[in-house]
Amino acid sequence: MIRRTTVLSLALLSVVGLDACRRRVVPAPAPVATSNDAQRQADSLAALRAQQRADSIAAAEAAAREAASANQRTAPELAAVLTQKVYFDYDQDVLRDDARAVLDAKVPILLANPAITVAITGHTDERGTAEYNLALGQRRAAQVKRYLEAKGVPEARLSTQSLGDSQPAVAGSDESAYQQNRRAEFQPSGGGALLRPRS
């Protein structure tokens, strides 16, 4: 019985000691406490702190588990943000406000997931020449890349290409179709499951 108590208190001590070591904070005993009462009080305080620490570790682990499962639930949402297209005006590579908002939403996700690379593909509508449209699509992709770089996404994680007018998103020869076809698309790859950015 005595033996078991000793083991338990040793275990308790080692937990406290470990925790103290981990935090690199050595709890200094009160130098004036010499009476038995004071000793008992100190013992119970230490036990309480140890308990609180154990509880908070458990709570943190539970929160982490919860966050991981929440991340699993939100990964498709994050992927949707990453692949959301941006649109352009006719013969322009200038980023409109709506395009900037779409790109701004991608930035924290890209920063929280440093292993992810993104291929940016520029497209144009069917007006203009096939040759110029290939160039214009490249200019749009490059403009998007520059914006993300300026927001802190490393250049090495962003690549650009153009498909010109060869792959319209929608068929048709009216302004509604043209607007949907003047776009940049995003193809993320690598990095495993997407992690939610810290808020």
């Binding site: 020449t129 040759e131 290939l134």
Partner: protein, 427 residues
């Protein structure tokens, strides 16, 4: 020599000199017809004997018609039997038909025997053998007939015909080739993303750009071998060969706009020519002397046509910027005689094909029906092929810039980005 006569002789020399430089007569034979560029001499193609006789005659008549410099006089029914008699051509009948000349083609075991009669003098004006061992109705057989048509057109008018030329274009993710009369369309490249085919001056090799993967490739038409000249990140667009045939000029860019580059066929990669400062610069076309390049640039905002020296210096805006007009001008192609640049321009919300005269910058609109674009000159400097949607699908058409006559060149699946060949050596 009396002065007026000398002046006349000089005038003839001045007019003839550019033609002679451009179209060298292989045998120097001229028929004594008076050729007035404003009117077309009437020519009767006499009935041809043999199993393919009707085909031979139809091909020659169509070639003359397509050349727009000769009027092939259509005759049929009983007249066909009457124009050519055992004793020789029926001179009075030919004269009544308005023929200046009659052509007699006779298939022989080794090819074709051709005789040309001058109706005015009732003399045989030309006799020539055209060797051909090609099987009837084959591509080479038709090429041999096109060569007869081109030789005769040169003999009649002083300008060699374009019947023996071919046109490259893009269709269904391949490069295709078609004869000048619309026959024999066939793919020459693998399926992929080839665009903007261009001819090597020899007519034996072509270049084209691809966008997946991005690069510039060349294809030897004789061996069928292709190779990648340059490739990498970004875009590689609209290659053309330098007039000396030793390099390719093309558009390339990654993140800082698209500029024109030059890369030697012998290897070593590309060197930048244009200074677009982040703008797009594509679709180059050399002047015939190789000293200037016309190209399309968005450097001033809207796309316009510019010219520059072959080393990228001395840039000049060619097409006039019109205040308040949001025109979009593209796809320049410098005419073989150096006088004109054909291009496409936005007109009333769609594209039309125009020419601009380099001397006075006067414009001439050549099309108005449907969307018309991507002009490419024939080596005679008189015909252009272009893409038109006038029938509902994108097809290649040909326009004679003198008369405005047009004809449809391709049929079937959509076609675009045509490139007319230089004069091709037969076999």
């Amino acid at each position: 020599m009396p002065l007026p006569a000398l002046r006349r002789a000089l005038a003839v020399l001045l007019v003839a000199a550019p033609l002679a430089a451009q179209d060298t007569t292989s045998r120097g034979v001229r028929i004594g017809l008076t050729y007035d560029p404003g009117s077309k001499p009437g020519v009767v193609v006499l009935p041809v004997t043999g199993a393919q006789g009707d085909s031979v005659r139809a091909i020659l008549q169509r070639d003359f018609d397509n050349g727009d410099r000769i009027n092939p006089i259509a005759i049929g029914g009983g007249v066909v039997q009457d124009v050519s008699r055992a004793a020789g051509p029926n001179w009075p009948l030919l004269a009544r038909l308005g023929a200046a000349a009659a052509v007699q083609v006779t298939p022989t075991p080794s090819g074709f025997h051709v005789a040309v009669y001058n109706v005015a003098t009732k003399q045989t004006a030309l006799v020539r053998e055209f060797p051909s061992s090609a099987a009837p109705d084959s591509r080479a057989w038709r090429a041999a007939l096109h060569r007869i048509a081109d030789d005769l057109e040169e003999a009649f008018t002083g300008v060699r015909g374009i019947a023996g030329t071919r046109i490259l274009f893009e269709r269904a993710r391949r490069i295709w080739i078609v004869d000048s009369d619309g026959e024999g369309a066939m793919p020459v490249s693998e399926t992929g993303t080839p665009m903007s085919p261009a001819w090597h001056p020899s007519g034996r090799m072509i270049a084209y750009g691809t966008y997946q993967p991005a690069g510039i490739s060349t294809l030897d038409l004789t061996s069928g071998r292709s190779r990648t000249l340059v490739s990498g990140a970004g875009v590689f667009i609209s290659p053309i060969f330098t007039p000396d045939g030793e390099s390719v000029v093309y558009a390339h860019g990654v993140d800082e706009g698209v500029d024109l580059y030059i890369a030697p066929l012998s290897g070593g990669g590309g060197r930048r020519l244009s200074v677009g400062r982040g703008s797009d610069n594509v679709s180059p076309s050399f002047s015939p002397d190789g000293r200037r390049i016309a190209f399309m640039s968005g450097r001033a905002g809207q796309p316009e046509i510019y010219t520059m020296d072959a080393d990228g210096t001395n840039v000049d805006l060619l097409t006039p910027l019109e205040f308040g007009q949001n025109a979009y001008r593209a796809s320049p192609d410098w005419s073989p005689d150096g006088r004109l640049v054909a291009f496409q321009s936005q007109v009333a919300g769609t594209f039309q094909v125009l020419t601009i005269n380099l001397r006075d910058r006067s414009l001439k609109q050549l099309t108005s029906d449907g969307r018309n674009e991507d002009p490419s000159w024939a080596p005679d400097g008189r015909h252009l092929t272009f893409v038109s949607t006038r029938t509902g699908t994108r097809q290649l058409w040909v326009v004679d810039i003198e008369s405005g006559r047009t004809r449809q060149l391709t049929r079937g699946p959509a076609a675009r980005l045509p490139a007319w060949s230089p004069r091709l050596a037969t076999d």
